[in-house]
């Protein structure tokens, strides 16, 4: 009886598999077509959902089959490594990857490239950057500079007390944005006007907690740099609880739809918008060109960044939130 039951349930489980497989096949081209893989940091972040969308559109247009995989959490190297191996086994022409660990993934990428697969990093460069054939990404230093310059203008000569809500140690993206912000604002690392720096891992709850602690340390903070919009919204919540939300300038990076809406409503003063859909689209196109006998993609391609704000300051080029909302992701 038990055996029959387990057999029945197993059949049910396999049916589920079958359904998943069938549905996928219907949405992509038939077997034997050229395959391209996309490996994102996680499955759930809207940034990567948009990326997948861009890859899917471009793959369909080029008549290619898209395989996707993701890490289980931010920083999950093992799952990405496994995905690379499986995609190479599946016979992909190229792999697009946003590496979770910029150094640790390098040996696996080398193996894939040795097997003749083109590997393109999206959004996040590997360390060293030439471990992949090409990089399609936002210039994160420039993204930081834009909001730094904006903040300088917005402070209008007032003495700044700055909090930086950063990503996490050892992650280049976070470091570049942070450095760019300081550069744009015209100060050096360690400047006394930066009164508080905390890691948030780009998480809203952690961003709120970090801001609460910063306000505890220095109640007169009047400028907040945030690694991304969730962290910015967390900071806003903390400031609002103290009744400080009106007289503090929050700047951020990302350009997600939630973030741009927050710019529109005035919670965030300005944000640097990046374009994940374009990264994936361009990546898939490059693989398609290579698969058709074209040259391997190489080097760095800047996928662009735009400052979004409704309170533009003089001398810093910006677009308004209408533009931001038309081009946002998530």
């Amino acid at each position: 009886m038990i055996a029959r039951l387990s057999a029945g349930l197993l059949a049910a489980a396999l049916l589920v598999t079958g359904c998943g497989g069938g549905e996928q096949k219907a949405s992509t081209s038939s077997a034997g077509s050229t395959k391209v893989g996309l490996i994102t940091k996680t499955e759930t972040n809207p940034f990567f959902v948009k990326m997948k969308e861009g890859a899917q559109t471009a793959a369909k247009a080029a008549g290619m089959e898209l395989l996707t995989a993701a890490g289980k959490f931010d920083g999950d190297n093992a799952s990405q490594l496994t995905a690379i191996e499986n995609m190479v086994a599946a016979g992909v022409k190229g792999i697009l990857i946003t590496p979770n660990d910029t150094k640790a993934i390098v040996p696996a990428i080398k193996k894939a490239r040795d097997a003749g697969v083109v590997v393109i990093a999206l959004d996040t460069p590997t360390d060293p950057q030439d471990a992949t054939d090409a990089l399609f990404a936002t210039d994160n230093l420039k993204a930081g500079e834009l909001i730094g310059e904006y903040a300088k203008g917005a402070m209008a000569g007032k003495a700044a007390k700055i909090a930086t809500l950063d990503l996490a140690p050892g992650i280049t993206v976070g470091q570049l944005r942070h450095d760019g912000f300081l550069k744009g604002f015209g100060i050096a690392e360690g400047d006394p006007s930066v009164v508080c720096s905390q890691d948030t891992r780009g998480d809203q709850a952690k961003g709120q907690e970090a801001m609460e602690n910063c306000l505890q340390k220095a109640p007169d903070i009047n400028l907040v740099y945030t690694i991304n919009e969730p962290a910015a919204l967390g900071a806003y919540t903390a400031l609002k609880a103290k009744g400080r939300e009106k007289d503090v300038v929050i700047v951020s990076v990302d350009g997600g739809c939630t973030g741009v809406k927050a710019v529109k409503s005035g919670q965030i003063a300005a944000t640097s918008q990046q374009y994940p859909l374009k990264m994936a689209e361009d990546g898939v196109k490059a693989v398609a060109a290579f698969a058709k006998g074209g040259a391997k993609p190489k080097g760095y391609t800047d996928t662009g960044v735009t400052l979004i704000t409704d309170k533009a300051v003089q001398g810093v080029e910006a677009k308004d939130t209408a533009f931001g909302l038309a081009n946002c992701w998530g």
Binding site: V16, T68, N77, K103
Partner: protein, 323 residues
């Protein structure tokens, strides 16, 4: 009469690994029919490489679950062991073999600490290992300063090297993993220590009354599990080629998944370590097969979840029947 009816087919049905083995075979047949890249020696070698780390962790997990305990800290202990061996070898310049030994010893020490807390202060294993998970996770990040350790000496990655087996490249790590499973299958099935582990899991009180020194036995189980996590750390380092402070964050639950899928009861006292190997392979086969078919990886998570619930359902129903 009832005893005489316990013929071979009947015994196969009541063997806890029969269901998992059937599921594994079914899954393999399914993927072989749906992907022409699945049924190759190279692909199977790949699947074994992909499950060896979690599989090895799951050996230790099986030992602990057989005693009626659980270990939430194994992935974290492994990550720490990996950082210790790579950092000692690269940053401190220790001879690689000594660094490896130190890494494994550290893992065994954490296992011992878990065992001591569970027995001497009689804390529930769930809580002890939950606490240890956080302690070791933090130590890993403090000691590594969140930096990935690269440029490892060759001795640390030797298990990632391959040898030819009938035209297929197999890593030494895969071989070590299989040997570990066979070794523990022997130890659990054929030695007094192994039988005592099952007795302890069935009833601690009865085990104690039959003269088994249950505290010492429990401590030995957790320590040996820690030692095995140390070997998993070496396998991890050889597979990724780096010391990774972010490693293993979901491996505690993944190893429990492998144990449960392999037909071992979470209530202790019932199960086979070879079942755990099958459980780990089921996860690996689904992950690989679905990827080859072009199914997004989220479906693998969905199916693993369904299979876990199935496995515990079967365990629960068969318990009710034997009762």
């Amino acid at each position: 009469m009832a005893v005489m009816e316990a013929t071979l087919p009947r015994r196969i049905i009541t063997t806890p690994t029969a269901g998992p083995l059937g599921a594994l075979v079914l899954a393999c047949v399914f993927f072989a029919l749906n992907s022409d890249q699945f049924l190759t020696g190279g692909n199977f070698s790949l699947i074994i490489q992909q499950v060896m780390v979690v599989g090895t962790l799951a050996i230790g997990q099986t030992l602990i679950i057989l005693t009626g305990g659980i270990d939430l800290s194994n992935g974290a202990i492994m990550a720490f062991g990996g950082i210790v061996m790579t950092k000692l070898a690269v940053t401190s310049g220790l001879p690689p073999l000594l660094a490896i030994a130190a890494g494994i010893a550290v893992c065994a020490a954490f296992g011992l600490a878990n065992g001591m807390l569970v027995t001497k202060i009689s804390l529930p294993p769930f809580i002890v290992t939950l606490g240890m998970l956080n302690v070791v996770f933090a130590l890993t990040h403090i000691y590594s300063e969140d930096q990935t350790v690269t440029d490892l000496p060759p001795a640390l990655t030797i298990l990632g090297q391959t040898f030819k087996l009938g035209g297929t490249n197999v890593t030494y790590g895969s071989l070590l993993t299989i040997l570990l499973f066979l070794f523990f299958a022997y130890v659990l099935g054929q030695t007094a220590w192994g039988r005592h582990v099952y007795a302890l899991g069935n009833s601690q009180e009865v085990a104690r009354l039959t003269g088994i020194r249950t505290q010492r036995l429990t401590i030995s189980v957790y320590t040996i599990a820690g030692l095995v996590y140390g070997l998993a750390a070496l396998l991890l380092v050889s597979r990724t080629g780096v010391g990774d402070p972010q490693a293993g964050q979901t491996d505690n639950l993944d190893s429990i998944t492998a144990v449960v899928l392999g037909g071992t009861s979470l209530f202790g006292g019932r199960g086979l370590v070879l079942g755990t190997l099958i459980g780990a392979l089921i996860v690996g086969v689904f992950r690989n097969g679905l990827q080859l078919m072009g199914v997004p990886s989220i479906y693998q998570t969905l199916i693993t979840g369904i299979l876990v619930i199935l496995a515990v359902t079967v365990d629960q129903l068969s318990r009710r029947r034997t009762r």
